[in-house]
C-alpha cells in the first residue's frame, strides 16, 4: 500500500501550503504518493478495464487520465478516503464516455478479449489438470458471456472489492437492485459444477 506523506490530505494546513513557498516539495511528495498508488494498482485497474471492454492501449490512456485526475483532485485540497474506489469510479465514468464517443458496446466474445484471457492458473505443469482447468474456464466464460451487461459490470466491481452499496451509488440504483442482479448471476455461475 502506497503510504501517503505524513499527515497528507488530512490536515488543512498542508493543503494551504500548496500555494506557498513549500509548493515544489509538496508537489514532489504528492507526485511520489500518486506514483506509488499507480505502481500498486496499475495491474488490477488495467485488468479491470480490459475486462470491462477496453483495449490495452485505451485502458493505459484511461488509467493515466485517472491518476492525473486523482493528482489534481488531491492537489486542490480535496479528500479521498479510498483512492482505489475513487479511481474505479472515475475510470468507470471515463470508460462510459469513451464508449459513447466511439458508439461502441462491450462484447465478451470479441477476438482480442479471447486472446487476453489466459489459461486458468494451475500449480505445476500437470497437463491433465491444465486441460480440466481450461474446460472449466471455457464453461465459466460462456456463462459469463450470457450475463446481462449490467450484471457483468456489477460483478466486475464486486470482484474488485467494492461493496454492493458503493456499486449502487455508482450506478445510481438501489442496493436491492444490485444485490438481486448480482445474486442471480452468482447463482448461475455457482450452478455450473452441478450441471456437469
Amino acid at each position: 500500500m502506497a503510504r501517503a506523506p505524513q499527515g497528507w490530505n488530512n490536515h488543512p494546513g498542508v493543503v494551504l501550503s500548496l500555494t506557498g513557498s513549500d509548493q515544489p516539495m509538496m508537489d514532489e511528495h504528492l507526485a511520489a504518493y500518486v506514483s506509488g498508488l499507480y505502481e500498486e494498482h496499475h495491474g488490477s485497474l488495467l485488468r479491470h478495464l480490459i475486462l470491462s471492454g477496453s483495449s490495452a492501449p485505451e485502458a493505459e490512456d484511461l488509467i493515466q487520465e485517472g491518476f492525473l485526475r486523482l493528482f489534481r483532485h488531491l492537489g486542490s485540497g480535496q479528500k479521498v478516503d479510498n483512492p482505489r474506489s475513487w479511481l474505479l469510479r472515475v475510470l468507470h465514468n471515463l470508460r462510459i464516455d469513451e464508449f459513447r464517443k466511439h458508439k461502441r458496446e462491450f462484447a465478451l466474445d470479441r477476438p482480442e478479449f479471447e486472446c487476453m484471457v489466459a489459461q486458468m492458473r494451475t500449480k505445476g505443469p500437470d497437463a491433465e489438470a491444465q486441460v480440466i482447468a481450461q474446460e472449466q474456464q471455457a464453461r465459466v466464460q460462456k456463462a459469463i458471456g450470457k450475463l446481462a451487461p449490467r450484471q457483468y459490470q456489477y460483478l466486475l466491481l464486486r470482484a474488485e472489492g467494492l461493496k454492493l452499496r458503493e456499486i449502487a451509488e455508482m450506478f445510481r440504483v438501489t442496493v436491492q437492485t444490485v444485490s438481486e442482479s448480482c445474486a442471480k448471476a452468482m447463482l448461475e455461475l455457482g450452478r455450473l459444477g452441478d450441471e456437469s
Binding site: 503510504r3 500548496l18 500555494t19 508537489d27 514532489e28 504528492l30 507526485a31 511520489a32 500518486v34 506514483s35 499507480y38 505502481e39 496499475h42 488495467l46 485488468r47 480490459i50 475486462l51 490495452a56 492501449p57 493505459e60 490512456d61 488509467i63 493515466q64 487520465e65 491518476f67 492525473l68 493528482f71 489534481r72 492537489g75 487476453m116 484471457v117 489466459a118 492458473r121 500449480k123 505445476g124 500437470d126 465459466v140 459469463i144 460483478l155 466486475l156 464486486r158 470482484a159 461493496k163 454492493l164 452499496r165 442496493v175 436491492q176 444485490s179 438481486e180 448480482c182 445474486a183 442471480k184 448471476a185 452468482m186 447463482l187 455461475l189 455457482g190 450452478r191 455450473l192 459444477g193
Partner: protein, 575 residues
C-alpha cells in the same frame, strides 16, 4: 437494507437478502433474523454455498486475465504529474492576487491598497509567462524523449500509421519506433519544393512525427516564442518563429505516454503541412540487445532534451557491462534485496531506482553508481520510499485461529505466539525479497538471451545468480524449518497429509530463471496462507477458503517450493 416480513410471505429470505447477509451489508434487525434462519435452514445454506461458488468462479475468471506490462512506468507518470502541476499550478503572483480577493477581514486593507498594483502584477505575469511556457515546452519535449526511451527499455515497439497532408496531397506512412523502419518507396508526389520545406522544418518522411526532429527545428530557430495548450487530443506545443518560409510549427503529444500524435508547419503564403497519427499500437520487439543498435531512424536533437545526444558512441556491450557492474555493486552491499532496485536502460544510459533502507545505504548506492560510467539514477533526488517487499506492520494473531491456537499451546502464551509470528513475518519478507531479486535477474537475463552473451558476461551473471540462489536456499530452509513443525502439527490434527504426487509430475530439473520465477509467488502464497491461518475467521466472505483448504494449499505449495529450490539444471554453468 431491511426487507420486512419476508418470513411471512415465502418462509425463506429472498436470494438478494442472502447475498447481503454473506457480504455483511444488511442493516437494522435483518442481520440477526437472516443469520438465525440460515443457520437453521439447509436449503438457504445450499443457496449461500452456491452464491459463494459463483463469486469465487467469477473472481478466478478475472484473475486468469493476464494484463500486458505497463507502457510507461510510475516514474514516467510521476514526471507527467509534476509537469502537469507546473502547468496547472498558479503562478505565485496569481496566487497572491487570489488570496487578496478572498476578502478575509485581515486582508481587506491589503486588497484595497493592492488594487493599484494589480495592473503591474498582471503585466509581470504576462511578461514572465512567456519564458515559463518555453520552459514547459522544453520539459514536454524531454518527457516525450523519456517516454520513447522507456518503451525501448521495455523492448516495446511503437507502431504508428501517420498521414501527411499538404493541400490536396496526402501521403501515408507506417513508422516503427524501436525497430528499423523498412525502407519505403520514394514518393513521387513529393517534389523538390516540398522536400525543401520538409528539410527546413526538420521533417523526415520516414518518421514525420519524431519529437526529436521538432526539438531540433525549434532549437535551430534563434527567435521563437512557445505556447502550450491542452486540448481534447493532448498537449500542443506551438512555436512561432520569424523565419522567411516557416512562420509557425506545432507538435501535439498524447495525454498519456507523451506520444507525438500530430505536427503542423505553417508556411508563409502557402498551404500548411499537417501530419497526424491515423492509428497506433504497441507490440513486443526482439530482445533489447539487438534493438538498441537500430533504435532510431532519425538523428537526435542536440539541445532541449534532457539526455545527451544519441550517437555519442556508447555501444551496447558497454551498456551491458555497466548494467552488470551496477547489479554487482548492488549485490555486494545487499541492496539488490533490501533496496529492491529497478534497473532499466535507454539507448545510452543505464537507469536505476532504489528504495534504500537508511541514509547510509542511500549514500553507498549513490557512491557506487557514481563510479560506474553510463549509469544514472532516475529522478531528481533520492528519497525514502516504501519498499514494496517490506513486511506489513505486525498484528496480533487471533487466538481462535488454527495457527494462533496451536502456537499458544506450543509456546505457552499469547505474547510468545505473537513474537513467533512477527519473527516468521520478517523471515518471510526477507526470503520473498530475495526470491523477487532473483526472479528479476532471471527475467532480465532469460535462458535464450544468455546464449547470445559473451562468455565472460555469462560467467558474471551466473556468479551473481548463484550467490543470490544460495542465499535464497539457505534463508528459505531456515524459514521453512521454523514454520513447518507447527504447520505439520495442525495438519496432523486435521488429518491432512502433504501429497508428494504433485511434485512427481515435474520434470527432472529447471533452469534457475524458471525456478526463481516460480519460487517467488510460492513464497508469497505461503505467507498469505500463514496470514489467513493466524488471522480471524474468514467464514461468511464469498471468497473464503476453509482452514483445511488453506492448510492443504500450504503443504502443497511447500512441496513445490522445496522442489524448485533444490532442482536446478546444470547449476549455473555457462548457458
Amino acid at each position: 437494507m431491511n426487507r420486512k416480513h419476508w418470513q411471512d410471505r415465502e418462509g425463506h429470505p429472498p436470494v438478494d437478502l442472502l447475498l447481503l447477509h454473506l457480504e455483511g451489508e444488511l442493516d437494522g434487525n435483518a442481520p440477526d433474523a437472516v443469520g438465525v434462519h440460515v443457520s437453521q435452514c439447509a436449503s438457504c445454506q445450499a443457496s449461500c454455498d452456491q452464491l459463494e461458488r459463483g463469486i469465487s468462479r467469477f473472481t478466478a475468471f478475472c484473475d486468469s486475465v493476464v494484463t500486458p506490462a505497463p507502457v510507461s512506468g510510475a516514474m514516467a507518470l510521476r514526471e507527467r504529474l509534476l509537469a502537469a502541476q507546473v502547468k496547472s499550478a498558479p503562478h505565485p503572483v496569481i496566487a497572491r492576487i487570489r488570496d487578496l480577493f478572498r476578502f478575509d477581514p485581515p486582508r481587506r486593507f491589503a486588497f484595497a491598497s493592492g488594487c493599484a498594483s494589480v495592473c503591474l502584477l498582471v503585466w509581470l505575469v504576462v511578461f514572465l509567462g512567456s519564458p515559463r511556457q518555453s520552459v514547459y515546452a522544453s520539459q514536454l519535449l524531454s518527457d516525450a524523449r523519456s517516454a520513447s526511451d522507456s518503451l525501448l527499455a521495455q523492448s516495446k515497439v511503437l507502431n504508428q500509421k501517420v498521414r501527411l497532408r499538404r493541400g490536396s496531397l496526402v501521403i501515408e506512412r507506417s513508422v516503427h519506433h524501436g525497430r528499423q523502419t523498412p525502407l519505403q518507396a520514394q514518393d513521387s508526389s513529393v517534389d523538390d519544393h516540398l522536400q525543401t520545406e520538409l528539410d527546413q522544418a526538420h521533417i523526415n518522411l520516414d518518421d514525420p512525427l519524431n519529437a526529436n526532429d521538432f526539438a531540433a527545428w525549434r532549437a535551430g530557430e534563434r527567435e521563437h516564442t512557445d505556447t502550450v495548450k491542452e486540448t481534447a487530443q493532448g498537449v500542443t506545443i506551438t512555436t512561432r518563429v520569424s523565419g522567411d518560409a516557416i512562420t509557425e510549427g506545432s507538435l501535439t503529444l498524447s495525454r498519456s505516454g507523451w506520444r507525438p500524435i500530430a505536427r503542423s508547419v505553417a508556411l508563409r503564403g502557402e498551404a500548411p503541412i499537417e501530419i497526424s497519427e491515423v492509428s497506433y499500437d504497441i507490440s513486443d520487439s526482439a530482445p533489447v540487445i539487438s534493438e538498441y543498435s537500430t533504435a532510431s531512424s532519425s538523428p537526435r536533437a542536440t539541445t532541449d532534451l534532457g539526455t545527451p545526444a544519441a550517437g555519442a558512441g556508447v555501444s551496447t556491450s558497454e551498456l551491458e557491462v555497466a548494467e552488470l557492474d551496477l547489479r554487482e555493486a548492488f549485490h555486494s552491499m545487499g541492496a539488490d534485496v533490501s533496496a529492491a532496485p529497478r534497473i532499466w536502460r535507454s539507448e545510452q544510459t543505464v537507469f536505476f531506482r532504489a528504495f534504500p533502507e537508511n541514509p547510509k545505504q542511500m549514500h553507498a548506492i549513490e557512491d557506487a553508481a557514481n563510479r560506474i560510467a553510463h549509469v544514472k539514477e532516475a529522478g531528481t533526488q533520492f528519497e525514502r520510499m516504501p519498499n514494496p517487499e517490506q513486511p506489513s506492520p505486525s498484528a496480533s494473531h487471533s487466538a481462535a485461529s488454527p495457527l494462533g491456537n496451536a502456537l499458544e499451546r506450543k509456546l505457552g502464551s499469547a505474547q510468545a505466539a505473537d513474537d513467533f509470528l512477527d519473527s516468521l513475518r520478517n523471515r518471510s519478507a526477507h526470503v520473498i525479497a530475495e526470491a523477487a531479486a532473483l526472479d528479476q535477474l532471471g527475467k532480465r537475463y532469460p535462458v535464450d538471451a544468455m546464449k547470445t552473451f559473451p562468455p565472460d558476461l555469462q560467467a558474471r551473471v551466473n556468479t551473481l545468480a548463484s550467490s543470490l540462489f544460495s542465499s535464497l536456499q539457505r534463508d528459505s530452509a531456515v524459514y521453512l524449518q521454523a514454520l513447518s513443525p507447527v504447520l505439520d502439527e495442525i495438519a496432523k490434527e486435521r488429518d491432512i497429509t502433504a501429497s508428494n504426487e504433485d511434485t512427481g509430475n515435474l520434470p527432472g530439473c529447471l533452469h534457475w530463471q524458471e525456478n526463481a520465477a516460480l519460487a517467488a509467488p510460492q513464497l508469497r502464497n505461503i505467507a498469505k496462507d500463514v496470514s489467513l491461518l493466524s488471522g480471524p475467521s474468514q467464514t461468511g466472505k464469498p471468497e473464503a477458503l476453509t482452514t483445511d483448504q488453506i492448510l492443504a494449499d500450504s503443504l502443497r505449495t511447500r512441496s513445490f517450493l522445496e522442489w524448485h529450490l533444490t532442482s536446478t539444471c546444470q547449476l549455473f554453468s555457462a548457458n
